[in-house]
Symmetry: D2
Subunit: 253 residues, 4 copies
């Protein structure tokens, strides 16, 4: 029986402002990418999110982003590699201490937004991200796009890279995601997503042009901030379970 | 040979703004209370401060404060005990991860400003501070005013409380610090401070009314943000060494 | 025909985080209290909110609060009167400039949260608020609790104080609001609120103990952040209109 | 008698952190570019800086920057033109309200750091800056590099562009500033600066290659954050006065 992980961004509320549907989505995922106070989240939100994850047996990972609340980490900040590493260590440490106080240890890291995107294509950023993760713990896997600079750099530095697939995004024949502005780049239909989830879990995906390509992924990303997210998560989760997949986070260390 | 610790607040710069004389004072102290990004400090300042401390063999402690940069942690924020604990864990985790990346482990914690003052007199705050420290690590001593609620609560929870004396502050006959607005409450003369440091190191202090009282302290606080701080630190350090004291941070764990 | 104003807090989103139901509530109010970036809001939210208000012919007022996003301005910050005034001027200026760029001028000011509460009972805070408003413009009315220090201070300094009633809050026989923790202190029933709105508009209110007291108010506050806020606002607005009231913001200057 | 303006960045302290030598430099300048809380400054610093400027008869201008305290506005933020305009209006409004409360009206605007640099070369940014200024007041001149996109756009929109020269920076033969990394790009010698100030005031400057080029500037920028800034400012000011120049800010409106 093949094992696959379902991950979702969590803990992206801030102070009095709510975001996402954490409590409704949590039952259907196996890894929570918890915001660390950089692009979203705060110490109280982190604590609540870790507690919620623990309640549902969901693994907790760090979801650090550029420290830019108004921009939600979606615009890159011009940080030097040293600045980027210090910032990441600070965010990883924050979440880790809060999780540790609940007897939860971090299980993975997935960079957020502009940091994820940049680390996938820019070697300097990828190197800084991996170096920060490694300095924090050599046992933390990094979720990343298959074939990205981030994946390659992680392997080089001896950090486990977990290739990630997206259940609701159209793929290009080269295995990259279709640009968000392309028509039908983002799927809103849970059934469509469940079908793609199954394909990805079995090692391939049908690209936009109809051609099926091989793509090995070990975790599937669900988006949690749309109104239909809970149904979405449930549909994907049910389809995978029904098809005989074991749902579980990657084991680290 | 009696051992005494000299501690000083460090790493209170922020982004482009400098504060204090860290490099000039570091050679004369044994414990650095490093700001954790709450009332001051940022990930880069933390990294530089830890590195500087390591260079001079100075122990690194956390100096968390209310998360209020413009107010520099000098005004209390109305946080619930849970909020206070989460905030403290977040700050301790940040500094700890940055220190750990330089192979430095935290050796103590000293709350900053309004948080220190409140935790010394308010049992609810004291309890939240000690609980957060304990949740982070049972091996971290807390620096605190002798006879304070913070000291008592630490003892209750099984955390080492390190009683702290102030070399440049006048004492009342009851062992408390004279109010800052009292004439001569704060000493600017390094020689005066050195003399009081010696007295404190030997277990007593002459109160404002001339009476000498017993006061056991294991660490002496030096202020680092005045123009004369480096000379101040040197004078105190030299006097203690000359009198035969070994200067060293408390051993934890 | 008597004229009455309906005011509601608006523009309390922040960056990517949404709050309230501004677009749905706006059609039913006459004055928008727009957050100024202190406790909530940001330049883009302010610009959108002013534009929305203008679209519905709603007067724009400033809704400044303690500069504390995570606390949403609900906890008092220990600011000196000078600091409070400078902070208020900064927030008033921000919103005013953004409004002015859309040919909208501010019509009133209503302090938010802890600042409103404190200014109603603390003369030092009331004086600083009124002084800041007066330094900004002598033509801006201040919305405030009838009989409060804020109202009195406004009158003293020659600033128009607009007494405010709350349609969904129970009153004590002395004309003050029942504590939020009292049972039935906050009404969730739009019809109940509409009935109280009518009473208030006519100059009285039935207190919790059943006694009807005289209370002159010129503006009625609607809460906009509950799920039922739009229906709530519509019900109150319709009831007032049906009863022959003209709905309009107070004229200033 | 030709009139020339000397401008300097001011009010770049933040909360408890000091920057610059405002009180020592203010006597020798005629225009203060006051930080507006974006890259530096806060409401209290703004109020103190306006007061200091007023005391020395110095004109007050706004010095808005990217809202990024840790980065001090020296790194560009990816803002849309609308976001940039709203942000600028917010900052202009803040300073303006604080100045107005002291009976001081803004006399000019000079963008800070990365915003200045980008607006000089990027037409989209230049257009957003000028549009924001124009929406705020058609009477506010913009200080800018001669020949820049910012200057051109200001002229197009009917806003007065005041060409600015730099007394301590080497020029290229094309009239642009030598890159900061070029040897001798930045002068530390007050006499050198005074000599270049005189040249610039008379309409030319000797470029790095020794060739003298024509360059019309109406304001000269002094840097205020180096230890020698007060002497620097005095030397330049004295040289201009001695040579018969009247020192005064540009008249607006």
């Amino acid at each position: 029986m093949r094992t696959i992980d379902i991950n979702c961004d969590m803990g992206e509320s801030y102070g009095p402002w709510k975001m996402g549907h954490d409590a409704e989505v949590m039952p259907f995922i196996t890894s929570a990418n918890v915001a660390c106070g950089g692009h979203a989240g705060d110490p109280n939100v982190m604590a609540k999110t870790v507690s919620l994850a623990q309640q549902f047996g969901v693994s907790v990972g760090a979801h650090p982003g550029y420290p830019d609340l108004p921009g939600f980490g979606r615009r890159a900040l011009a940080l030097t590699p040293d600045e980027l590493q210090n910032m990441l260590l600070s965010q990883l440490g924050s979440l880790s201490a809060i999780a540790h106080s609940q007897a939860v240890e971090l299980n993975h890291i997935k960079p957020h937004g502009a940091l994820y995107n940049l680390a996938c294509v820019d070697i300097v950023t990828a190197r800084a991200v991996v170096s920060a993760v490694k300095a924090f713990s050599t046992a933390l896997p990094i979720y990343c796009l298959p074939g990205s600079e981030l994946e390659e750099e992680a392997k080089k530095q001896g950090i486990l890279a977990v290739p990630e697939g997206f259940v609701d995004r159209a793929y290009e024949p080269n295995g990259l995601l279709a640009d968000r502005n392309t028509p039908d780049a983002v799927a809103n239909d849970p059934e469509w997503a469940a079908k793609q989830a199954l394909q990805l879990a079995m090692g391939s995906v049908q690209a936009r042009n109809g051609v099926t390509i091989q793509l090995r992924v070990d975790t599937l990303c669900i988006h949690g901030d749309t109104p239909g997210a809970p149904l979405f998560a449930k549909t994907v989760s049910d389809a995978l379970t029904k098809a005989g997949f074991a749902l579980a986070a990657p084991r680290h260390g």
